[in-house]
Symmetry: C2
Subunit: 428 residues, 2 copies
């Protein structure tokens, strides 16, 4: 396709999505649940077609020499399709975020102002290899009243198309507006550029994938981007910490699932307890096969630790590796974190309430924990029911992003003829 053809095709999808968004915003909560359930049903009954399509992607992936990990992300089977459909049915049951009155003000002049939650409009989702994102993202956007334009990676294009088709063909008889869920049916690079420039029709763009993808979208986008960057999460073990508790929280945060963004990457330890604490910590982490990379003070206490380089303090390992540093006091810990973290999630382990309060108010991160594992930085754990990701941005949505964060608001103002300057008119 030429750049012009891509441009025309995507702008035409944008226009359709905008019309769909107006229709979606008016659907009742019951109607949306009904549509979602029909979509879940359709996904299950389309399993044979989806699995056929998935085979094409897997074959192409093998030919291209994709790694086993990549192929596994790509692979669908009946159980995975069932899980995706189950996810849709779960979202159908969640409370509807649209239409809730967030604030109400009555002004002295008699004007009444109501701040009401409304959908954002049209959301673009750019993602990489996992085909389940086609359904997960579209469904959360639909529940929050938004139209979506999806642009998946080339590796999963057949699977994505089959999933999108199942959602559309299941949803439309139940009342899904035409164009509410659209997948760009080609994967030319130009399509990302066109989508990111289409602020006429797109209100928000969410890149879901690696740092490279996010960087590309950030530099091209003319509309707001909500970024889900990496998590360089810290634990600080204070001098007044319960050391057993600290070891449990660090073990859980580092090793329970090292590949996720809320896993721990750096441990800071107060100097007063370092020599008693670090050997105990090393013993536990050794049973988990975690490599320790320490600063000079740490390596002195733990001679088996690898010396850390400057890069270690800003690396998201997503692996069984952790960097460890001894700090002089709480201030030094706060300073180190504010300078090196990715503002995702941090934890202090201490029995000193004042130290905990200072840590929580002085650390500029989305989630700041006290005596609890950072693995709880998650929409489900926060009670959001579902999440589209964890925002490392500070505007609009910060931290776990659920249905409410996929909404905007508007003011509805009522009066009985109030004028900015009534005197001008009575003077007529």
């Amino acid at each position: 396709m030429t750049a012009e053809e891509i441009h025309a095709a995507i702008y035409s999808m944008g226009k359709t999505a905008r019309n769909a968004a107006h229709a979606l915003a008016q659907l009742s909560p019951e109607k949306k649940s009904e549509i979602l359930k029909a979509m879940g049903q359709s996904l299950r009954s389309s399993a044979p077609e989806i699995l056929e399509a998935n085979k094409l992607d897997l074959a192409a992936g093998e030919e291209k020499g994709l790694s086993n990990a990549m192929l596994d992300r790509l692979r669908l089977d009946t159980a995975r399709i069932d899980a995706i459909a189950g996810g849709i049915e779960q979202v159908a049951e969640l409370p509807d975020p649209v239409g809730e009155e967030l604030e109400h003000t009555s002004r002295p002049n008699g004007i009444s102002i109501s701040k009401v939650r409304v959908p954002i409009g049209v959301i673009g989702i750019i993602f990489e290899s996992r085909p389940n994102v086609t359904s997960d993202a579209a469904v959360l956007c639909l529940k929050s009243g938004n139209a979506t334009i999806l642009r998946g990676g080339s590796e999963a294009i057949h699977s994505n198309k089959a999933i999108a088709k199942a959602l559309q063909s299941g949803g439309e008889p139940a009342g899904l507006p035409e164009g509410a869920i659209q997948l760009i049916p080609f994967t030319d690079r130009e399509s990302v550029k066109t989508l990111a420039g289409m602020d006429k029709y797109l209100d928000l763009i969410i890149p879901r994938g690696g740092k490279g993808l996010i960087e590309t979208v950030v530099s091209l986008a003319r509309m707001p981007v909500i970024k889900h960057y990496d998590g360089i999460c810290h634990a600080y073990v204070d001098k007044d910490a319960d050391l057993d508790l600290a070891i449990s929280i660090i073990d859980d945060g580092k090793t329970q699932k090292p590949s996720v963004c809320n896993a721990l990457e750096t441990i800071l330890v107060h100097q007063d307890i370092a020599s008693s604490f670090l050997p105990q910590l090393a013993k536990r982490l050794d049973t988990r096969k975690v490599e320790l990379r320490g600063d000079a003070a740490t390596c002195q206490i733990l001679p088996t630790a690898t010396p850390a380089t400057e890069d270690d303090w800003t690396t998201e390992y997503l692996d069984l590796i952790v960097s460890v540093k001894v700090v002089g006091d709480l201030d030094e810990a706060i300073k180190h974190i504010n300078e090196h973290s990715s503002q995702h999630s941090e934890v202090i382990i201490t029995n000193d309430t004042q130290a905990a309060q200072r840590f929580q108010s002085e650390i500029d991160s989305a989630c700041v924990f006290h005596n609890v594992s950072t693995r709880f930085a998650d929409g489900e754990e926060f009670g959001f029911g579902a999440e589209i990701g964890i925002s490392t941005d500070k505007l609009h949505a910060r931290g776990p992003m659920g249905l409410k964060e996929l909404c905007s608001y508007q003011y509805r103002i009522s009066g009985n003829g109030q004028l900015k300057d009534a005197s001008r008119q009575s003077a007529l």
Copy 2:
């Protein structure tokens, strides 16, 4: 200056601003008020220096051949400086938005989650000729705990520098952190580009000025931009409208201050009342010297109206001109507005509550009014105390933007040793 020198200078300001932001976030409400009052005082006592600097700008402006309107925007006198200082003192008295608990959740596993309002961090403000923005913007950012980097237009550079100096020299002895308010002391175009690319230090950028400036910032910015675009505001006069009320509201909205973004630009009239209403409206607007540009149906009823072109439906006149169109029904009015408005402010005039509700829920604009002038789309009128502008964006802040909208939030989570998977540890 070379591009490299500009880059180095602005990045150095960014780093200082980031440090200042951490300090600012910890200041008590009382301390911030104290600093603001000292800044107001300093501005008054620096009036002679500010007026001297302003003379340089005015002389340069005259030499450059700036219009009288431009020169008037640039001009300061004792009364204007007094008004700016008064504005600072007013902001000092407003409730502090930082630290308020927005939500509190206790999860079944005993974890307690507190969502707390915190400052955004470092905000870049790019503005054009009015020197008062130097103070107005910096002061609102300071009250909300944010550091600011200001980049004003070349026409006002001497005045801006003098105002920034007065704010800094007044604020610092009272406890203003160094670098909390910084003005870029040069106006090379490269500085806008550098600022817009500095997502390492800048959390948000707000362009205050014309469409051209906003467009430039939008295409360059790597961080969130909050846009204050134009207001193509509509009034729809329903068939069940009180016609006298409609005339008053349109007169107020169009003529009380035509140069502002919440002024009316297009009037839609239901066909059933058009022939009785339009002559009355024309009579009133004639006394205000307003030019009417009508569609065919309007021109048939009002032969003196100018025929409207397609462009008239998307023009923000900011002048004594209004476009008028007869519509078949409420649906056509809603459709026209959703297609042509800038999503700023619209009003329906009707006694039919159901029609008003449909209008308010189906129109996708920041402020949707019923029987009240659109001139009330304003932070002061909403009770915000002050506003930095009216956002035409849908993310983060929509409509009037006050101190709360200059803040982000963070989650502070407390527990007593909860782990994502405790079974792994007890199995050790």
